[in-house]
Amino acid sequence: MTALYRYSLATTLHSQRYVAPMVFFLGLLAVLTSGDSGPLLGVYPAAAGALLACATWVAASVVNVQEPVGRAVLVVNARRSRDVLIADIAVSATLCSGMTVVGLFYPILTGSHVVTWQAVGIGALAELTCACVGIGLGLLCSRLVIGRPGYSVVVGLGLVLAVVLAKPLPPVYPMLFALNSGRTPTELFLPFLGYTATGLCVLAATAAAAQYLATRTD
């Protein structure tokens, strides 16, 4: 698995396809959170929402770096297509972890907030949840499932908007709503652990679905 991770990371870094979503993320973060002077929890919904969109883009880019024929060779050498997908998810998670760190501390450095570790912890849980859901959505609109790039972009945008705006759909909308509810970080801690667990479940479910659909259509 380590060898697959190294290969996936190397091809992603060489392709430079991760650059565009990361620059987009920094741009969104700068526009939406710079100079804010309200409560720290109030700026994290914007950071988490930006991370959701960019994690979707990053995950699709990581999977799409491999052409179908190259992926076939990789699957034969690795002996299991599931392992190749897990390595792609791990690389996406690595890149999203970097964006999470930036998303947590950029608002603190550029705004004037009362900073508490509890608030930063809640922000971290929110961003990790959005990263998990975003990676899952990215897998669903990657080449594994959708062959045409144009359709992939449209489906990706649709899925991100649906997840952010659909009220009854956990965990993203209720989580972002809770950040602006005025509740203290201590009160939010347990619900946010639940949201993060749900985010991980969403990632596992979408990965299984992507793997199933990719195997069916190949």
């Binding site: 060489h14 190259g70 060779v73 297509s81 190949d218």
Partner: protein
């Protein structure tokens, strides 16, 4: 051993690409599949390699390590040939040092032009194809699957690939390949199948180099004028192309079992390096039946 039973394949709602295919790999065989464009050759190999799932029918058996060379190798990667092969070697379980050494050996043997540190996307089609062949051989495969492997290769690489196929078959491995030229499949394969409109015909015997293991081996007795008794005599020879086994044959003499097709090359190389030829015999029995041999 790997077998396909009543395998059919259809993409979406399109026409069936494979229809009721029964196919079985055999250890020591070089099996060729020939047919026109769009007849289903590549899809058959993809199913065999396990990268495509049959729509119906079963793929069963575990042949062990599989090497797969697709018909179109992705040539847009920015990784260098050596780096790519090192990654593939690690994925197949080699250590970093072993993978790097194996990559260098294979690229040297296949005579990669352009340098092993050149990004794959900057290589010519033929050289990218050599990288494709090399990745399949990073760990000696028990089943080597080649989809039109000669496409884009130069004449010298044709010979190297043929000798690689022969070595694998001689070592009880299986090689399955496709080519639309029946002259090529007939010359290299031991069994030739024809596929038309997704249906596979029964096999016909080929005149391939590996048609019989004993018929493909030659025994050469070599003598060196400057033998150091402290060194094992056959060690240098065991690394040469086509050498299957060596054994001592008296003071300063060594008996070498070599593939028939590479016998002339071995003789030429030996003479150029100062060895003398004391004996030569074609179509000898396999090394496992001869005591005292050091198999390669």
């Amino acid at each position: 051993m790997l077998s396909l039973e009543a395998v059919s394949k259809r993409y979406g709602r399109g026409r069936p690409v494979l229809i009721d295919i029964d196919f079985r790999t055999r250890p020591g065989a070089v099996q060729a599949v020939t047919g026109g464009n769009g007849s289903g050759k590549s899809t058959l190999l993809r199913v065999l390699a396990g990268v495509s799932r049959p729509s119906s029918g079963t793929r069963s058996g575990d042949p062990g390590v599989i090497g797969y060379v697709p018909d179109r190798f992705p040539a847009n990667t920015r990784l260098s040939a050596r780096s790519y092969l090192a990654h593939m070697g690690r994925i197949k379980g080699l250590s970093t040092q072993q993978a790097a050494a194996r990559a260098t050996d294979l690229l040297t043997r296949l005579d990669l032009v352009g340098g092993c540190y050149t990004p794959i996307r900057d290589l010519s089609k033929g050289n990218a194809q050599k990288v494709a062949v090399a990745q399949a051989l990073m760990v000696r495969p028990r089943l080597l699957i080649l989809d039109e492997p000669w496409s884009g290769l130069d004449a010298s690489a044709h010979g190297v690939l043929a000798s690689i196929i022969e070595e694998l078959a001689s070592g009880n491995g299986t090689v399955v390949f496709t080519d639309h030229r029946e002259a090529v499949t007939g010359a290299v394969a031991t069994e030739v199948y024809r596929i038309e409109s997704g249906r596979l015909s029964g096999s016909s015997p080929g005149a391939g180099v590996a048609a019989g293991r004993s018929a493909g081996l030659s025994e050469v007795v070599l003598r060196t004028p400057f033998h150091d008794p402290a060194l094992p005599l056959g060690e240098e020879l065991s690394g040469w192309d086509g050498v299957q086994a060596t054994s001592a044959a008296g003071p300063g003499r060594v008996r070498v079992l070599v593939l028939r097709s590479l016998c002339d090359r071995l003789l030429l190389t030996a003479l150029q390096r100062g060895w003398s030829v004391d004996g030569l015999r074609h179509d000898v029995s396999v090394p496992s039946q001869v005591s005292g041999w050091n198999a390669r």
